[in-house]
Symmetry: C2
Subunit: 459 residues, 2 copies
Amino acid sequence: MPEPANHLHFFKFMTLATSDSLHAIRGAFLDFIGDPFHGDEFSSVRYLPDGLMILGEGKILALDSYEALQNSYSHIPTTAYPDKLIMPGFIDTHIHYPQYEIIAAYGEQLLSWLNKYIFPTEQKFSHKAYAQKIASLFFDELLRHGTTTALVFATVHPESVDAFFEEAEQRKMRMISGKVLMDRNAPEYLRDTPESAYEESKKLIQKWHKKGRLLYAITPRFAPTCSNKQLHLAGKLLQEFPDVYLHTHLSENVKEIEWVAELFPESTGYLDVYDRAGLVGERSVFAHGIHLTNAEFRRLSETRATIAFCPTSNLFLGSGLFKLSQAKSPDYPVKVGLGTDVGAGTSFSILHTAHEAYKVVQLQGESLSAFKGLFLATLGGAKALLLEDKIGNFDVGKEADLIVLDPQATPVMATRTQKFPAVSLEDLAQKLFGMMMLGDDRAIHAVYIAGELAHCRTS
Amino acid sequence: MPEPANHLHFFKFMTLATSDSLHAIRGAFLDFIGDPFHGDEFSSVRYLPDGLMILGEGKILALDSYEALQNSYSHIPTTAYPDKLIMPGFIDTHIHYPQYEIIAAYGEQLLSWLNKYIFPTEQKFSHKAYAQKIASLFFDELLRHGTTTALVFATVHPESVDAFFEEAEQRKMRMISGKVLMDRNAPEYLRDTPESAYEESKKLIQKWHKKGRLLYAITPRFAPTCSNKQLHLAGKLLQEFPDVYLHTHLSENVKEIEWVAELFPESTGYLDVYDRAGLVGERSVFAHGIHLTNAEFRRLSETRATIAFCPTSNLFLGSGLFKLSQAKSPDYPVKVGLGTDVGAGTSFSILHTAHEAYKVVQLQGESLSAFKGLFLATLGGAKALLLEDKIGNFDVGKEADLIVLDPQATPVMATRTQKFPAVSLEDLAQKLFGMMMLGDDRAIHAVYIAGELAHCRTS
C-alpha cells in the first residue's frame, strides 16, 4: 500500500477556513501520485479503502485514513459514501461544445464531415442566446459524466466564447476555451481575417484569462482553414501572452495531411506548419496526432507539447489508431491527455473514452491497464495542461474537484465489481478495469466542484 | 414510403385467436422487408409513423396504419407508445452465457484470455444450481438490452444446457444453445471425449430441440480444443439431426490460426478443418471470421453458412477488423448476423454492437448506415439463423417478439433525436443513426416476448 496523503499542510489552511465552513467526505479514495507508465504501476497509486477528506474554501485541506483523522475532525459535518470510489474529477483535453447537438452524424470522414454537418451547426453560434442555451446543456452533460475540467473549442464567434465562459464562471469550474481562428477553406459565414482574429482573441484573453478559474486558449481550427498569416499572428499573440494555451488539431486524417502538404509546400510536415508560426510549446495541445512521423514525435517531446488522444472520435471518423506506446516511450516521451472530441467523439464519458483507448491499444497488440487509463483521465490530463499544481489528484492544497464513482451502477457492473471497496491494489486493478470497460454516466454518482456538490445522480 | 403491411392474413388467424385474447399496440413501427445491402436502401424499409399492430396467441395478426385499422379493432385493448419506435426484437447470433460474470477481463488476447479467465469460470457450471443462477441473470440482461433471440454457448457440462433451456422455456423465448465439445488443449476439468460429447449432445437434442421455441446447436468450442475424431463425430450427429445448428468459432486471431495449421497439417486452412468433418452448411454459424481468405469467403458463400460479426469483442481482444463489405459483396455473399460475444464482447447491447460495427467499417474506409446496422440486428440475424419464417420482422403470422425503443432515453439522445416520430425515411435514417450511436440498454423502453410484455424500463 503506498504512503498515505501528507496532511501536515492542513494547519496552514486552517487560517483560511474557519471550522464552520469545513466539510468532510468519508469513503474509498483513489488518486495518482506518479505516472503508472513509468516504473512500478502500483507505486503511482494512492488508495485509501476507508479515507477521510477535509474540504474548505474550495480546496482539499487534509486527506488520510479515517482512523488517522477521525478524532481531529469529529465535529465537522461529514458525508459518507460507503461502497463507492472517490476520484479526482475527470479532465477532457479536447472537446467542441458547439457540436453537442450534432454528435454522431452519419457516414463521413473528417473533411466531408466538417462541410456537411459541422460548419452549418457552428453558424448558429453567432447568436449569443443560442450559444448560451447549448453551453448550459453542455455543462450539464460534462457534470453528468464526471468531467470537471476541459479544454474546449468554441466557434469563430466571440459571442460563443463569452457564452461559454459566463456559464463556466457561474458553475465555478476550471475551464479553458477560446475563439476559433479560421480565415479560409470554410464557408464565408464562418471566416474571420488574420487581423480580426488577432484583435478579437486579444480582447477575449484580457476579458477572461485567469478570471477566477478560467483560462484562455488561442484556437486555430487547423492548418487547412488558417492562412500562414493568420497562424503567424496567432504566434505573435502567444508571445504577448505566454501563459495562455494553444489548442488545435494535428495529423488526424490521411487526406487532411496530404492537403496540408499542398497548402504549405514550404513546410517539412504538418507539425512544422505550426512550428514555423511559433505555435509549438509546452502550453500547446494538439488533438489526435494519429499519423505523426518519428521526427514529429521527437519534436513534440523536446518542446514538451501535448497530444489529446481521442479514441472514440478516431474510430468514429475512421481516422486511425493513435500510437500511445510511442508517445509514452522513455526515449522521447510526449505528454498525453484523453479527449472525448464530441461531436466526432461518440460519448461525453472520459471513462468510456478510456474504454475505447484500451481497444485502440489492443488492436496494436498492447494493453492499457485501468490505472494507466485513469491516470490519463486525471493526473495525466492535469500534467498535459500544466495544471498539476491545481488539479488532477488529492494533494493537500489542490482545488477540490472530485467525483464519486458507483461500482454497482448497472446490473452487469454489480456482478462484475462485487465486494467493494477493494482490499488490495491487485483486487482494485481488476475491479477498476471492469468499471472502465462497463461504466458510463451512470457510474458517476456525484460530482463536487471546488468543494461543493454540483451533481448527484437521480436515476 | 414503402407499401404498408399486408393484413389480409388476419382473417385466417381469427380462427385461432378469440377476440378476448387480442391485444393491440399503437405507435411508430419500423422493420425490414428486404436487405438494405442490396439495391435501394429505402425500399428495404417498412415504416409506419402511426401504426397499429394486432397481437394474439403470441403472433402478429395484423399491422397497418392506425387510420386503416382503427375501425376494425376499436374494441380491442390498446397500448400506445407515442414518441417511441417499435422494432422487431434484436437477434444476437453469438454469445456465451457462462461468461456473464467475467465480462471485461483485463489485458489478454484470445488464447491467454481463455486460459487465464474463461476456463476457470466455466468450471463452475458443472453445478446446476450455479448455472441456473447465472442463466437467470443472463436472461434479465438480454431483455434489458432488447435481445429476444440468441445463439448461445453453454459449457461442456450438460447441466449448463439444461439450466439454460429451462430458463428460456419458462420465459417463452426463442433460443438456441448446446453443450460445448472440447476434448483437448483445455484443463482436464473441462474436457469431454469424442464419444461422451456425441452421446450427451444426442440426448440433449432429443430433450430440447424444437421443444416449444427452443432449438439446439452442436457446439464444438473451436478447432484447437477438438480432436479430429471429435469433429467428425459432431459431423455424424449433424447428419443424423439435419435441422439442428452447428455453432463454433473461426479465424478470430492470428496466433489461433497458426495453431490450427499446426494441429491440422492435412487441412488447407481453418475453415477446411470444419469442412472435412462435414460441419459447414447452411445451418452453420461461425463466430468472427476476421482473417478469412478469399477462398474461405467463397466457400462460406457456396455452402450458405453464416458469420457472426462481433465488433466489440474483436476490438476488445485486439483480434482485428471483420471485412463486412467483402461478406456483403454481390459476387459471393456470405450471410452475416451481429453477435455481442459477451464475455469477450463488452456490452450486451446489440444497438451498441451496431455502433461498434460502424467504427470497424469506418476504419476500413466505408460506412454502415443505421438501416444496414439495424437490418443485421433483426431480419439479417433471422436470415442468418434460417428463422426468417418465424421472427425478424413484422410480417403477419410471425412470432410477436418486439421492442419499444425510446429515442429520448438520455439527455444527449433527447437533443440529437428530437421531433419523433420521423416524418420521412431520410429524417428517420439520421435519427436512427443517432440512436444506434448513442443508445444502450436505456434506449429499450419495453420488450414483448410472444406478444406479452416481458420487460419495462423502470429507471
